[in-house]
Symmetry: C2
Subunit: 242 residues, 2 copies
């Protein structure tokens, strides 16, 4: 009997160790899909001035008004895409990925379909969950933001942006999917370019929007799993032409 008890203890220890290993990696595979655990980013240094005056971003690759002085010199200059870091960095499209990885330690994941597992959904607004996604030869940025548009009523906004130009972004379609408790919510759209402002996309509400009660229904133990898939939208456009 003692033998069995010890065996059971050893198995439990192994499971615990394996769990710790997963926690450390923060990326693991479940049911054939790559699951990425994304920790929240909460900052008191929230700088809404960065793009506060930005109107609906245009599709012509023009930077938001707050960057017009830069746009006159170089329309490819991108402000730092970590909205809550109030990072003063600005750079060319080609170095955005390395800046986000090196300065802000944002993970980059490979694969056409991944699961974004946002932890600690209960944290107060404003909070961001950010990850990069490498797929189909391009890099995308997924931003999940908890924000209070109406005081006392936090909402969740999720959008995907291409680290590329608006013209390149038009070639893709992204899908965000929530699936739990006999409910399923899918959002499909063309990604915006990071040359447009993530703040204006979210303030326009042109993204997946969840109120707190829906977010709770889709959450498991304080974590929200969002399935992400990216496809090329060329098939759709040729269908539309037919």
């Amino acid at each position: 009997m003692l033998f069995f008890t010890q065996c059971f203890g050893a198995v439990l220890d192994l499971i615990h160790l394996r769990f710790q290993h997963y926690k450390a990696k923060r990326v693991f595979s479940a049911a054939g899909q790559l699951v990425c655990v994304v920790n929240p980013t909460h900052s008191l240094k929230y700088a809404p001035t960065l793009c506060a005056t930005a109107q609906t971003s245009t599709e012509q690759g023009i930077l938001p008004p707050c960057h017009h002085h830069e746009a006159e010199h170089d329309p490819q200059l991108v402000p730092c895409m970590c909205p809550l870091f109030s990072c003063p960095w600005e750079g060319h499209l080609e170095v955005v990925v390395s800046h986000l990885r090196q300065t802000h330690h944002i993970n980059i994941l490979q694969g056409a379909e991944i699961v974004f597992l946002a932890t600690d959904m209960h944290l107060p607004a404003p909070t961001d969950w950010i990850i990069m996604h490498s797929c189909l030869g391009h890099q995308f940025l997924l931003v999940l933001r908890k924000q209070e548009k109406y005081e006392g009523h936090p909402q969740f906004f999720a959008t995907m942006m291409l680290i590329g130009t608006p013209t390149q972004a038009d070639n893709f379609t992204y899908r965000l999917e929530l699936n739990r408790n006999q409910r399923r919510l899918k959002w499909e759209a063309t990604p915006r370019s990071v040359l447009e402002c993530v703040d204006s996309v979210i303030s326009d509400g042109d993204c997946l929007v969840l109120n707190t009660s829906l977010a709770q229904l889709f959450s498991d133990n304080g974590s929200l799993a969002i399935g992400i898939a990216i496809t090329t939208s060329k098939v759709h456009s040729s269908e539309a032409e037919m």
Copy 2:
């Protein structure tokens, strides 16, 4: 030349007549799908007291608290499901359909997949768009409501209810789909029973929720087309058991 002009005029007249005919019927078929034009119902006699005290409806077929005095006698008694009519009617499940048709002139449509075309989305809140849907041997009620949860910020809430018991409702899955402007939003869930209160489903936000900007993106000329499909969910539950 005059001949061609007159021919063109005659064709235009024919198109106009056909359009008038469609408008009169308010139900027509587009691309093989049944499209139902649903006019809004706006009432100043909004009676939030009807279910104002109702909490999240239970799955056990218990009526909302405001009807407990009735529930003691007959748990199958249903208040009138036209929320903005402040209709004092109450009746058994079996006669809900005939009451909605005869007293409130709500259309009933046949078919597994239909398109619900809500007109005049610009009308101020509170406004309802209601239709009945007959499918798979049962009748369902689709309610689209424009409501101001936060003053000055109207939102749209869409849900489907079974004119039947909660146990019967568990056998179905409904899907609402919006598709326009390179964006697609899908909501899938188990319908609630009309024995639960539509007001509490909407106030809980456990339904398809659209802010005004998203509703505008999905609207065409002030009308919002919602694709509706109902399936039996028995396949899903057997899959879950496997």
